[in-house]
């Protein structure tokens, strides 16, 4: 007789998904111990009080500091149950049984006593109650093929769920290398073994399965999105898929993005793009880079782009303006606080360089260095992140040519700079030469800015960058 125990409770974590409960007729003798009957499931186990075992050094009481499980969760033997502390020692208490947690006897910060019950676990009746000693052997299994297996003197340790997975896939546990504690075979080990068999690289399962049992309590960031995936070769046996959907609340940086972009949606955008020949600028920067380094500053192309933008804004101030909520008034901002989009570990932030209209290219470079180092350390202040009037986004450092940037309210324009490519172009004599080409994509608020204005601004900005000497004429 073989039945599947159906898990009933609300919040059991997916890691311990299926649990096979097997009993034969002799187990029915234990049925008088059954207490819990729920409408949606049948429980077949007895409640065992798991007592807090001896900590050592004559310690009799500890403080409960953290629970790794809650009532209703399934646990396997050796899973972490809680963390207790006693006199500078932090102790991880692990489960002695497979079962379902029915009661926690203490709350956080309570004093727990050695020898007194810590949790009540409902265990499968057929397994019987483990002895008081720390159990090293695996619990008795009914699947004859997968009883205690000896690998060169080691017993294989694996939970019932893992053993079932191995059995379903016709895998001998002796052939699997266990990476868990004490050589335990984890679910991940079975999957890796399968992957090697079929040549498929399985999608990364939630991190919590890979690491040792201790750390299942907290959600760990998902595996990197850019992990390459091969298409599984059709296999003769079914591959167990361990990937699971993960839902997380939107907080922090993402929340900020949601707010900004929702507001940006209200702005009618139009786009304008062009290509800039930076050949001369590249040369100029090569000459100036060592000078800047002597002064202790890293000189990129951005200071030039920013200064040229500011010079352009002097001629077309409407691009440095702000439209009020009711679209009644346009405020022309006096300061050119040009924002620079920065990609940090946490996400997108846009600090700005203040008053570019009175800064030299070198001043801008210094300020950019400061903002970049603060940005990567996560230490930008509120004044660095507010007051922006115009933004440039150098997405080209990551890649791409043309883009469709989104305006950051309350601004009215934004430019996205693509990567610099070496491309063949014709010069005035009709000869082909190697040009350093960069694409720019502008977006502007069509409520107060028209295409012609954007085009003229872009042309002016382009002319400054294509012949940097012309900037000298207009520099203030």
């Amino acid at each position: 007789v073989c039945i599947h125990r159906v898990r009933s409770c609300s919040s059991i974590r997916f890691i311990k998904s299926k649990y096979v409960c097997v009993f034969d007729k002799s187990a029915l003798k234990f049925s008088h111990q059954q207490r819990l009957f729920r409408t949606s499931a049948v429980s077949c186990g007895q409640i065992v009080q798991f007592k807090l075992s001896d900590i050592g050094e004559g310690i009799t009481e500890v403080t409960v500091k953290e629970w790794y499980i809650k009532e209703g969760d399934s646990v396997s033997q050796f899973d972490s149950i809680c963390e207790v502390q006693s006199d500078k020692a932090s102790v991880t208490i692990t489960s002695r049984y497979d079962g379902v947690i029915r009661k926690l006897h203490y709350s956080i910060d309570d004093i727990a006593f050695v020898g007194k019950p810590l949790v009540d676990i409902e265990i499968d009746a057929s397994k019987g109650v483990a002895s008081e000693e720390d159990v090293v052997e695996t619990p008795p299994m009914s699947h004859e093929e997968h009883t205690h297996q000896e690998i060169k003197g080691h017993k294989t340790l694996a939970t019932p769920a893992v053993r079932r997975l191995a059995m379903e896939n016709n895998i001998k546990l002796s052939e699997v290398v266990g990476t868990g504690k004490d050589n335990r075979i984890l679910k991940e080990d079975i999957l890796n073994y399968l992957a090697k068999q079929t040549g498929a690289i399985l999608p990364p399962s939630p991190k919590a399965e890979i690491v040792a049992p201790q750390r299942k309590a907290e959600a760990v960031p998902a595996a990197p999105k850019d992990k390459a995936r091969k298409i599984p070769v059709p296999a003769s046996r079914p591959i167990a898929f361990a990937g699971k959907d993960k839902t997380e609340p939107v907080t922090g940086f993402q929340k900020a993005m949601v707010k900004t972009m929702s507001a940006a949606l209200k702005i009618p955008h139009f786009g304008y793009s062009d290509e800039i020949d930076l050949t001369q600028l590249v040369q100029l920067r090569e000459e100036l880079k060592p000078l800047a380094e002597i002064r202790g500053v890293k000189l990129s192309f951005m200071p030039f782009f920013i200064k040229a933008a500011s010079l352009g804004l002097l001629q077309y101030p409407i691009l440095n303006a702000s439209l009020d909520e009711n679209c009644q008034n346009v405020t022309y901002k006096a300061s050119h606080n040009i924002g620079v989009a920065m990609d940090t570990e946490q996400g997108l932030i846009v600090p700005n360089v203040k008053n570019v209209q009175v800064c030299s290219v070198f001043d801008i470079a210094v300020e950019l260095n400061r903002l970049q180092s603060l940005g990567s350390a996560g230490q930008l202040g509120t004044s660095d992140l507010t007051g922006g009037t115009f933004t440039l986004s150098n997405i080209g450092t990551i890649g791409g040519t043309y883009a469709k940037p989104v305006i950051l309210p309350p601004e009215v324009a934004i430019g996205a700079l693509g990567k610099i490519q070496v491309l063949p172009r014709f010069n005035s004599k009709g000869e082909v030469f190697k040009a350093q080409i960069m694409n720019v994509s502008w977006s502007a608020d069509h409520r107060i800015i028209d295409g012609a204005t954007m085009a003229r601004f872009s042309n002016l900005w382009k002319s400054y960058l294509e012949s940097p000497a012309s900037m000298l004429l207009d520099l203030k």
């Binding site: 900590i55 050592g56 050094e57 500091k65 953290e66 963390e83 502390q85 006693s86 006199d87 500078k88 020692a89 932090s90 102790v91 991880t92 956080i108 910060d109 720390d134 690998i151 060169k152 080691h154 290398v177 266990g178 990476t179 504690k181 004490d182 050589n183 690491v211 040792a212 201790q214 907290e218 959600a219 760990v220 960031p221 609340p249 907080t251 922090g252 940086f253 929340k255 900020a256 993005m257 707010k259 900004t260 507001a263 702000s322 009020d324 405020t331 946490q346 996400g347 350390a377 996560g378 230490q379 930008l380 202040g381 509120t382 004044s383 992140l385 507010t386 950051l408 309210p409 309350p410």
Partner: protein, 372 residues
Amino acid sequence: MVLQSLKNCLWLSCVLRTPKACFWSTASGGLIIQSVSNDVYQNLAVEDWIHDHMDLEKQQVLFLWRNSPAVVIGRHQNPWQECNLRLLRQKNMKLARRRSGGGAVYHDLGNINLTFFTTRKKYERMENLKLVVKALKALRPQLDVHVTDRYDILLDRQYKISGTAAKLGRTSAYHHCTLLCNADKFVLSSVLKSPFKGLKSNATPSVPALVKNLFEEDPSLTSEMLLDAIAKEYAVQHQIDHHITLINPADETLLPGISDKTKELQTWEWVYGKTPKFSVSTCLNMAYKDSVVDVKVNMDVKHGRIEVCKIDLPEQWLPPGLYSELVKSLTGSKFCPNETTTLVTTLLRVCPQDDELHSRWSLLCENMIRLM
């Protein structure tokens, strides 16, 4: 003393859990290893790794390590309560949370760390500390050092030179302790003093103590000498060769899975998110124009995130819509200056563009951020 660089890891793998045939005799009762890295996260990861993967039944391990400047708090402590976070950030000093209990300590290269790995049954802190004292006395017999019943080592009966913490798992355990040789006491006292007021928490508090460096007692002592003396004593007591094996905590082949452990120790969720629930109750006295605005702030922080946020502002000081947006944004976000700065500056983008409003907002938010 022979330092052996580890190139062939086969012999080490014998004591590990790979099911290879083992040809190396594991009859020796101990192993002494030293980290070549000064990165606190890497070294803590090595402790985790040994605790999780090594079979300590036949062989106990002594791990020697030193870190570049860092503050290390205990498993159940509150970093806001234990150290000056602003100072740490300014100095670009690392903050780590270890897995063992106990209080907060300051590490730099003038401090040595010793970790004694045993099976759970053989866990015995007093013995380990007595070993250290014996080693110190063998090196400098005139040193007045002894072990207290709080597992501290005192110099001259009053100065703490070593603090202890421990971690017990199902089958293995470790006891680690510090030893002040030549640490920067000035930095130590300034980073371990928290300016935070109004914090209520059940996190393990640290017990401040008067400290002294062994170097001050005897300037001829160096960290290397102390490490060597302790290794020697350990070797004698475990009847093994006095040689120290160097290990590189970045070596994934030798220690499979170590880089994941190292990464986990650096995540915000571990360092800050594991702080036991606490509440903040304080009053911001903000100087605004010609007066002072008193703002009562009450926050409950769980898992490092703001669960409940109450800000008592004078009526109409901020438009009600904006005020509720602020509270809504803060609720559920990290109790972290970086995240809060991003949130509040973003909110400013979508509210009416009014200089007066902006300056009030900035003032309030900057004061809030300073709390974190």
